[in-house]
Amino acid sequence: MSGPLDMTVVWLTWRQLFARRRIYVAAAFALLPVIFTIFFKFAADDYEGARLAFFSGVSRELIIGTLVPLAAALFGTTAFGGEVDDGTLVYLLVKPIPRWRIVFSKYVVAVLSTVGVMIPAMVLPWLMLSGPDLPFDVLRGFLLGGAGGAAIYCALFLSLGLATRRALVFSLLYVIAFEAVLSRNLVGVKSLSVREFAVAMSQAASNGAIVLKSYVVPMTTVWTMSAILLIGALALSLWQLSRYELAERV
């Protein structure tokens, strides 16, 4: 059990995240872009000419802009929130495991689960649309950008899962109100938007294959803000778990 991960916590979190109907929700998330792509292939007038624009649009708006934050909200808030809700967190708290290892293990599982939903959602449409104008660099750029977004979202939502029993509701409100509405329409808010960070990372990681015409947050801002949010949220989770108290209702 050496190293930053506790494999038993990883195993338990994995079982929790994919217990009950969550596995079907995750599968639906992953298959949604595939369904869109099938419609596009059969319905588009200029399929070959439009596939780069279509794939970029699906990856940026649907996957990075919607599916990744939704999957991160689902997995990030449940990683701790599920145990807080059903009262089973106590079984982890009364074990001789450093709290930071519990936080890190759960965080890694939440990120891997989110990325696990994102990968087929991006790779399958790319394979279906394959062609010379849709190079691997485009896929790689969006995959890495999406993974970067997943890493930040999961850190934020993990902390939210420890802070409130309505974490999923608050995280969905955040995704819809801030990421989907405000950050798309207000340039000043883009410097605080994880979605915009992920899009900027995608462009930077694509070796020039992705060229976005709209405003892209400068990479200096992206790295600085990402580091602050990621480290800050994980540190907050660690502090919350270290101070977590099981209160008797009096």
């Binding site: 059990m1 506790d6 038993t8 916590v9 195993w11 338990l12 079982r15 929790q16 217990a19 009950r20 059903d86 009262g87 089973t88 106590v90 079984y91 982890l92 708290l93 009364v94 074990k95 001789p96 495991i97 450093p98 709290r99 270290s242 108290e245 099981l246 209160a247 008797e248 009096v250």
Partner: protein, 323 residues
């Protein structure tokens, strides 16, 4: 000072036959939530053996157990387990085990997976053997392959206890552990806890039923409204509760004559006419009920109804506080 003692300071328990290897000490521990005081100035030292934590619902038993387990920080005072503060000290859980109240267990796991997970989280060198041994201790081998969601309440309690015992804890804290267990399971559990106590384990069992601690806890701490109201051997606590002043309402064929006759009984210290009946206050329930029959016979009074009026658990505990 009698064995049953009003608690205004430290009350050490040291069952003589058991070697002192582990200990839990609370010094003037208070815990409050906003304006609500859950635990008020509790001090005690617990050494190997079984201690019952008795009190009505909301008395602060769970809060005390959670403070001992390091899952709650005292608002005032201090707590130590084997000389170390448990709060914010994960290493202490190699010594402490807690069986929380309620049925919450990861219901998607099988019984074996739950106990094996506990063994792995305890970083035991042979987690499989430890899990099998703990499951055998609670007699759940036959059901260990089933998911916990299919377990009865008693089975859930037992699998939780197996998970807590998997690392041979030195301090075992059980919150209402007998809820849902049938009499055979209870007896089996009592035997197991006794042998664990004899091996040097400090065991604390909370309950709101005095008789549940019969034949199990030699020492009992009585908590009422967040305070440690009394402590002592089980028999002493039971005697206190039985011999306290009692109030009866007696309806008879001639209440006024019965009231006059009862006033001459030394065990009676108060008589009041009610409508209908007589309210009788006695300091010796046994003597009064024996004399009542004689008084009624001598006065040719027919007894129609005898009803104790202060038998609620809260009134019993309140007496211990006011004593």
């Amino acid at each position: 000072m009698s064995a049953a003692t009003a608690m205004d300071g430290t009350s050490p328990f040291t069952p003589g036959a058991v070697a002192r290897t582990h200990s839990v000490e609370l010094r003037n521990v208070s815990r409050w939530y906003g304006n609500v005081v859950a635990v008020n100035d509790v001090s005690c030292v617990l050494t190997p053996g079984i201690t019952g934590l008795l009190g009505p619902n909301g008395a602060g038993k769970t809060t005390i157990l959670h403070v001992m387990a390091g899952l709650l920080r005292p608002s005032a005072g201090s707590v130590s387990v084997d000389g170390e503060g448990p709060a914010g000290n994960p290493g202490i859980y190699r010594t402490i085990a807690l069986v929380p109240e309620g049925e919450a267990v990861q219901s998607f796991l099988t019984g074996y997976e739950f106990v094996h997970m506990s063994a792995r989280l305890q970083q035991l060198p042979d987690a499989v053997a430890a899990a099998r041994r703990a499951i055998a201790l609670v007699d759940l081998e036959a059901a260990q392959g089933r998911t916990v969601s299919t377990y009865s309440k008693g089975m859930r309690q037992r699998i939780k206890i197996a998970g807590a015992l998997v690392h041979d804890p030195g301090v075992l804290l059980l919150d209402e552990p007998f809820n849902g267990m049938d009499p055979r399971q209870r007896l089996q559990m009592i035997d197991m806890l006794r042998s664990l106590a004899q091996s040097g384990c400090v065991i604390v069992i909370s309950s709101h039923i005095l008789e549940e601690l019969n034949d199990l806890a030699s020492n009992v701490l009585v908590m009422v409204a967040g305070r440690l109201a009394a402590s002592g051997h089980f028999r002493e606590i039971r005697r206190l509760m039985t011999d306290r002043p009692h109030t009866f309402t007696i309806v008879s064929s001639n209440d006024r004559a019965l009231a006059a006759a009862l006033l001459s009984d030394e065990s009676v210290f108060g008589v009041e006419l009610a409508a209908p009946g007589v309210v009788v206050r006695t300091k010796d329930r046994g003597a009064m009920t024996r004399n009542l029959a004689r008084v009624a016979r001598d006065g040719s009074i027919r007894l129609l109804e005898i009803k104790p009026t202060d038998q609620s658990l809260e009134s019993v505990f309140a007496y211990l506080v006011d004593r």
